[in-house]
Subunit: 115 residues, 2 copies
Amino acid sequence: MNKNDELYCEHYQRAAELIGGRWTATIIRVLLGGVHHFNAIRSEIPGLSDRMLSERLRELDHEGVVSRVVFPEMPVRVEYHLTDKGRALAPVMDALIAWIGEWAAPDPAPLARKE
Amino acid sequence: MNKNDELYCEHYQRAAELIGGRWTATIIRVLLGGVHHFNAIRSEIPGLSDRMLSERLRELDHEGVVSRVVFPEMPVRVEYHLTDKGRALAPVMDALIAWIGEWAAPDPAPLARKE
């Protein structure tokens, strides 16, 4: 083990916690899937409240992952879009989907579990 | 937008929350890096307490990601190793590292932030 390997990285841990927040990964996936209106996003995710969705979108906006886009129409239209930084998370989400495809199948994977 | 697309997946959300738990992504990275003893894992991660590391390893064991290996020596030696399911998370972690390499650089990325 080379002690010069940087196994701890604050950015890495923080990014994992951002993505791993309650509902966050699913909200990013819904946005990647082309759903952009608040009510439409919420209706894609069973159990997600208005309050929680607002909070998560605000957090993702603050992190530069999501942008709140206001269309100056009457009535005003608001959409939520991933920024370039947000769209760059797609490979992370794809890798996670591949992992659950292999390991979280309805039939238990052939793994000796200790419970 | 095809309404048959399954944008919500419980397994996916749960996997993201598992990986995004406090310290979890870093613990997995340390294990991938070849560190297997409890004290050695803890000493790689500034601010991680014994209690929190125990709790996280127990959770990862329960999820089939980490295996607690006991070597019947005197004194008994205990190591923590990723299972096949745990090692299969490496591409997720690699994708996350690539993302922070691009977007979480010390110099702010050229992104219009709204704060």
